[in-house]
Amino acid sequence: MIKKSIIGLIRPKVEYEMVGPTTPGAQAISAPMNVTLLVDIPLENRNALLIKAGEKVKEGQKLTVSKESDVYVISTVTGEITAINPFTGDRGKEYTAIDIKAGGDEIDDTFSAFKSKPALDNAINFLECVPGKPDLKRLNDPDRPIKKIVVAGMDPDLLVAAKQYAVRYSCIPIKKGIEILKKITGINDVVLAVPPSLERDAHTEMIDTVAVSTKYPSAIPRMIVKDVLGQEIQAGVKLEDMGICFISAESIAAMGDAYKDGKIPNRKLVTIINKDLTKTVVSAVIGTPVGNILAALDITTNDQDRIIAGGPMRGSAVYAGDYPIQPDTDAIMIQDKADIPNVSDSACINCGECIRTCPVNVPVNLLVRFLEAGEYEEAADDYDLYSCVECGLCSFVCTAEMPIFQFIRLAKHELVRIQEEEAEAEAAAEAAEAAEAEQLEAEENA
């Protein structure tokens, strides 16, 4: 992953590891007794829940929790709901967690009606929770049309290999998935972004590819758009707003399989990164607690070890060992407490390491001073906060061991919050004005 040289002049090379022809296939983890599915909305009113503990569910059944929202999950096992609880994920994001105890092997057949009859509406209705969690709704927004779909065949983070595995082992479903996607969206510009080592696999199936360099962070979507597609990226403008949508190769393969078999795939490829940084790719039923997988692989965790959902550069530490595998959990990394890097509260010493490593020329040494002081607006206006592609390299190299990357994410998060608040306040002021005008009018009329 990191090729260090004793000669510091040669910068340590941070490289992706490649999945190649000799990589062994994914190890299947047996279906768990209990799964936890996370629905992407906060649990607000227990009494208004559409499902209840004790209800029976079938594999492939669509579960919605509230009348007000069409957000759903697809049950990945057949069995009985045992509990419904609020769940807080990374950076305070709130979910509704549904615990299901497995038992029985019936399969819900609602989706089978659409077998070989792909359409965007039934895809949106049933396939949003397939492995890789494709944002299918986004493809259906006539106001902000998507012109190009990039199928991501390479994981943005180091050591993570879920997407590469999908390409290595599922080229046929990917090909089918791409055909379906083109047909149901009418978007014909679809390419598969893969590392050079996987281009051959894709070409055997006649899939259009673009090759992504193996140097970190070239597989981050914004970097792919800039370096591989050769398009200019603009700070603060989302790729979707440029008409480009990224979908995981695993999702595409899952869509291909779903329409071929009339059954919604329920297994996710997960890269398990062990304490010694060796990795194993497993396939696990979505909702499987991480602990089950670790037990199957004979990995033990101790107090104060760290469990990370995602890879070493961009992942997020999770709160509990029973964290369930989500449709977009591409990796789980276990870190020994002895390997947890120190984070210091020293100030920037202006060594310039971050400057030499940032792939998009953010003046990190200056930016960080404003972020530390909480001056987020200056950071955004004058010090290129929004150019950052969130690769984490600046923190990785920082001589002062500052948590720069965390500062950056926090700042972006805060700015979104501030903007929302401002928008709300504006809306409230407008409403008040309108009410006043109405009142005046009423008084005049009277």
């Binding site: 260090k4 510091g8 002049l9 340590p12 769940f87 615990d99 800039k226 990226i233 603009q234 700070a235 603060g236 607690p289 965790t301 104060q304 070890d305 760290r306 469990i307 990370i308 995602g310 070493p312 550069m313 997020s316 530490a317 999770v318 709160y319 509990a320 060992g321 029973d322 964290y323 990394m333 947890i340 890097p341 120190n342 984070v343 509260d345 020293s346 100030a347 010493i349 202006n350 310039g352 390491e353 400057i355 792939p359 998009v360 020329n361 953010v362 003046p363 150019s387 984490g392 390299l393 923190s395 990785f396 190299v397 920082c398 001589t399 002062a400 061991e401 948590p403 965390q406 994410r409």
Partner: protein
């Protein structure tokens, strides 16, 4: 489900680090600088050892007192104060009186660094601030010839910088580059305790560059600036101005190029700015030596470029995606 069974540490990405730290960096520079000082200590003996020890320890104490006064975490452990003390001592004559050293480190650590907010916030190289104030206030102590008159030396008996200034290059024509570089341990030039052994400074500097502790861009352009400017002067009037090699190997040139100009906080971080900064230091050094009023220009040249640093460092590549 989802109840916490084990305490798992929660924190933020990235979860790996390259392993470079402030203390590793400062200790490396400190040790290299100390090794480069050894020939000076050997030559000047006990008084030099006294000056170096006093400078290092008083710098640490000043920083500690400032930490206490500002109610900030004690930062002497990062080695930076010790390094400032050492670099300061390396520029001093071995005969400096104790109060001179202590006042110097006070100015360096307290005025040069702490009042700006500590390591990383100092706009000037702290050791040079200490030097500059002393040079302006007590100029006589820097008359290396007088200060070191009681020593007997085998070859180079004059401080080349002063000799060149007062007499002209012929005064130093007997000095060859090899002696300056230290042909044998005893043939050192007269000068600051740590500035006399060119060979050790160069080897140390190259080591620091290879290990990525200092930036080659600054050192190389500094030396190039010295050579080119001195060469031009020398061509113009060889009878009046010393040869580039003498300029390169004498005075504080090498100390400045590898240890002083490369201070992180007061030097640029971008490539072109680093080159401009280094070259500026070199050019100014020779200008001050040849036409200014001070015998050695390194101290003021670097301080002047420190002043210009924030402006020079504005020459930076545009962030990708920046909208103007």
């Amino acid at each position: 489900m989802l109840n916490q069974k084990k305490m798992l540490v929660v924190s933020h990405p990235p979860f790996i680090h390259m392993g470079s730290t402030i203390s590793k960096k400062t200790y490396n520079i400190f040790i290299v600088a100390l090794i480069a000082t050894l020939p000076g200590l050997y030559r000047y003996g006990a008084p030099a050892v006294g000056v170096v020890s006093l400078a290092v320890s008083s710098a640490i104490i000043w920083e500690y007192l400032m930490n206490m006064a500002n109610k900030r975490p004690v930062s002497v452990g990062d080695g930076n104060a010790a390094l400032i003390g050492l670099l300061f001592a390396m520029m001093l004559p071995a005969t400096s009186p104790w109060w001179f050293v202590v006042v110097g480190t006070f100015v360096a650590v307290v005025i040069g660094k702490e009042i700006f907010g500590g390591m990383g916030a100092n706009p000037f190289n702290p050791a040079l601030i200490g030097m500059a104030i002393l040079m302006v206030s007590w100029r006589n102590y820097f008359d290396f010839d007088a200060a070191l008159a009681n020593y007997t030396f085998e070859t180079i008996k004059v401080y080349p910088m002063t000799a060149m200034k007062n007499v002209g290059p012929e005064a130093v024509s007997t000095i060859n580059a090899c002696d300056l570089l230290m042909g044998n341990l005893l043939k050192l030039q007269i000068g600051g305790i740590g500035a006399t052994c060119g060979l050790f400074l160069i080897i140390g500097g190259i080591y620091l560059i290879i290990r990525n502790f200092i930036r080659w861009e600054i050192s190389v352009s500094f030396l190039a600036g010295i050579l080119i400017t001195a060469y031009i002067f020398n061509c113009y009037d060889p009878a009046k101005y010393g040869s580039p090699v003498i300029h390169l190997l004498s005075g504080y040139t090498l100390l400045g190029a590898f240890f002083l100009a490369t201070d992180d906080s007061s030097s640029p971080v971008y490539f072109i700015p680093m080159l401009i900064f280094g070259a500026g230091c070199g050019i100014l050094t020779v200008l001050i030596r040849n036409v200014g009023m001070y015998a050695d220009g390194v101290v003021l040249a670097i301080l002047f470029m420190n002043l210009a640093n924030p402006i020079i460092d504005k020459i930076r590549p545009k962030a990708i995606g920046k909208v103007d």
